[in-house]
Point group: C2
Chain length 266, copies 2
């Protein structure tokens, strides 16, 4: 089943930043309850926007979020110190967002991850920048998985982000991501693929139409998780429908249940 | 670029049958003009519904249709006699709909096709019935292509229909069609894949949502033609969007043009 990582608790979003600044726990809890009801599997928590306040903001957020949901959290910070602190405050095995092959991120993160009981979101990025081909993505994915396996991670705990780039910049960016996902899911059997997809439509009109279509095309290639807004009913309908068509919904029961509840796709 | 075969001129549709019976050429011509404007590449013409009248109905339809469009036609009949007559009446290289490996259809059709200058729609069906696996579909496709190549057809003139079956009947029917299309497009390089897709949603609610999603998932696997209603703006938007994301739209110009004209996706 498709793993939705709810992206809404992020202090780069104006309303969330204001709620965190004002310590408005009700705002946060209401949002988290809605994400939970909508079918999120993880709630991403990012407290990085108020420079100098990340530790206290993350601490406060983790308490508020966990009062509102039993879901595991996706701890989103580039700072191993913040992640170490956050790791001690969560009640369920979290996902750590994120590691990459950029030296400045890789070295501290791989050290931090030693011995942790968590899942890990790994970006197919290295010091040469964004990937330029499906081969780039797949070879980086293989290095990341090898390094994470070395320190004891199971493939089922690794979520690889192929880093989707805008179709308007290069017409092969969509197929690059799709074929990379297909190859990762077959050549590194047992891992997951995830990421935000909305970059694909950057600079183009009708972004929602493009994003929805691309999501189903990625799922057709084996993509089995996304960082997304679970309250976007159009996108969630696409996830449920595409996942059903990909053969992951016995007797189409989840789809039929959603349809009865009134799926939204307009 | 994706090849849309417009399916609306078919006497099994009540209004078309009435128009043909009444020799209402204006009705037919208006519909064909709309399909042409909407981006059809072929206009399918089927005159089979009025038993005993197929030759005269097809003759009359071909004249009306060709007065309304310069597009090539897809001649849709199981009867080689009707096709022979129709072939003599078309002004552009037509597509012939259809051949299959069912003995009763294969033998007369392969004889009919000898020496014809046409494209051909080939169904992955044989006397054992509907395909039960992607392997079934691909192996039938290979036999069809080999037989058609033997009598001089180029792969670019062959459109293979994988025969989509309802997802509600078996949860692997979607992936069976998708992986068959992917394999056909790589293992039989140069051919096309086509077909009607709406069977996928048979018996399920929210059929339009399913059909739209499946169309993009099929295109993500290389599907490059469909028999569909070009006046269904939702489906046409999906074709234009998915084809763009599949890398077949330079600088996204066709998509951007459609977006400016107001693509419909609700």
């Amino acid at each position: 089943m498709f793993t939705v990582i709810g992206e809404r608790i992020n202090t780069t979003l104006k309303k969330v930043k204001a709620a965190v600044t004002a310590r408005d726990a009700e705002y946060i809890k209401y949002d988290v309850r809605k994400q939970t009801e909508a079918g999120a599997a993880y709630i991403d928590v990012n407290a990085g926007a108020r420079i100098g306040h990340e530790v206290e903001d993350m601490t406060w957020l983790l308490e508020a979020v966990q009062q509102a949901t039993n879901l595991p959290l996706c701890l989103d910070s580039p700072d191993p110190g913040v992640l170490e602190m956050a790791y001690g405050l969560v009640s369920k095995k979290p996902m750590i967002n994120s590691i990459s092959l950029e030296k400045d991120r890789f070295d501290p993160m791989i050290k931090y991850l030693q011995g942790k009981d968590c899942r890990i979101l790994a970006l197919c990025m290295d010091d040469s920048g964004m990937p330029k081909s499906a081969n780039d993505i797949v070879s980086r994915a293989k290095v990341l998985v090898a390094e994470l396996e070395k320190i004891g991670f199971a493939r089922d705990d690794i979520f690889l982000d192929p880093l989707v780039q805008p179709q308007g910049v290069d017409k092969s960016n969509g197929t690059m991501a799709m074929s990379a996902v297909r190859r990762i899911m077959t050549e590194i059997e047992g891992v997951h693929t995830t990421g935000g997809l909305s970059n694909i439509s950057f600079g183009l009109p009708q972004r929602r139409t493009i994003n929805r279509c691309f999501l189903s095309m990625m799922i057709a290639n084996g993509f089995d998780s996304a960082i997304m807004d679970p309250l976007d009913e159009v996108a969630m309908t696409q996830v449920i429908t595409a996942d059903m068509l990909a053969g992951n919904d016995d007797f189409c029961m989840r789809f039929i249940k959603a349809a009865r509840a009134g799926v939204r796709d307009d």
